[in-house]
Subunit: 136 residues, 2 copies
């Protein structure tokens, strides 16, 4: 009886694990198909007299936007460390990802984004922006 | 007895599902920690007399590099569709991802990359490049 019970356990375990693994694989496949991503690349140069504190505050404020604007699908940023010297004075890069143009078009005039731009402008020297649908 | 057996099944199912879910969460966390990524953002403008065919050839040639240079971890590209008009004449954006600066530093002087740049130069009007370690 004990052996039979153990048999049931093992069989159930194998079946459930297999089921979960299959579910997981199907989900990943689905994700890959659905995840055509719209990238919003933003590069900043700051005025020569902008202080470290002012720049840190801008980076922090940008980083708050994903919490305030629900259509932002992913967000990352960093400072330039390219050895090529082709950064056109830009020192900071932000990569904001959307799942649709509609989501991007909600972001741009969003009050939280507008407030961020007002904060940014006094120390902004230059900005470059490109949006693109990511192809592989 | 049947009810008891069913009880065992349900209990086993719940335990196994919980175990697998925990494993999965731990794995995701591990991945996030390990995957600190170095982004290499490249924007191109092409000469006004560059033909569609010439531009398509350059895009295709760039897309061959991940097959030729093993240190490229991920690659994507797209054409600008930002409504903001801040693209500084750049029309194409390429996002090349590395896992280390060493990997990036192997890419830059790689013969396949150099060959690509020789192909590109005759129709290249302007280029902007920023590399950054992605923070979230």
């Amino acid at each position: 009886m004990l052996r039979l019970k153990t048999g049931y356990y093992v069989l159930t375990l194998v079946l459930v694990a297999g089921f979960v693994a299959n579910l997981h694989a199907a989900e990943k496949d689905q994700t890959a198909k659905e995840q055509k991503l719209l990238r919003h690349v933003v590069m900043f140069s700051f005025n020569d007299d902008a202080t470290e504190d002012q720049i840190t505050e801008i980076v922090k404020a940008f980083g708050e936007l994903p919490k305030q604007i629900k259509t932002i699908h992913a967000y990352e940023w960093g400072t330039n460390n390219s050895p090529e010297g082709l950064n056109k004075t830009h020192t900071h890069c932000f990569l904001v990802t959307f799942k649709s143009e509609k989501d991007r078009d909600e972001y741009l005039p969003h009050p939280a984004h507008k407030e961020f731009v007002i904060k940014l402008k006094p120390i902004l020297k230059d900005v470059t922006v490109i949006d693109y649908w990511a192809s592989h």
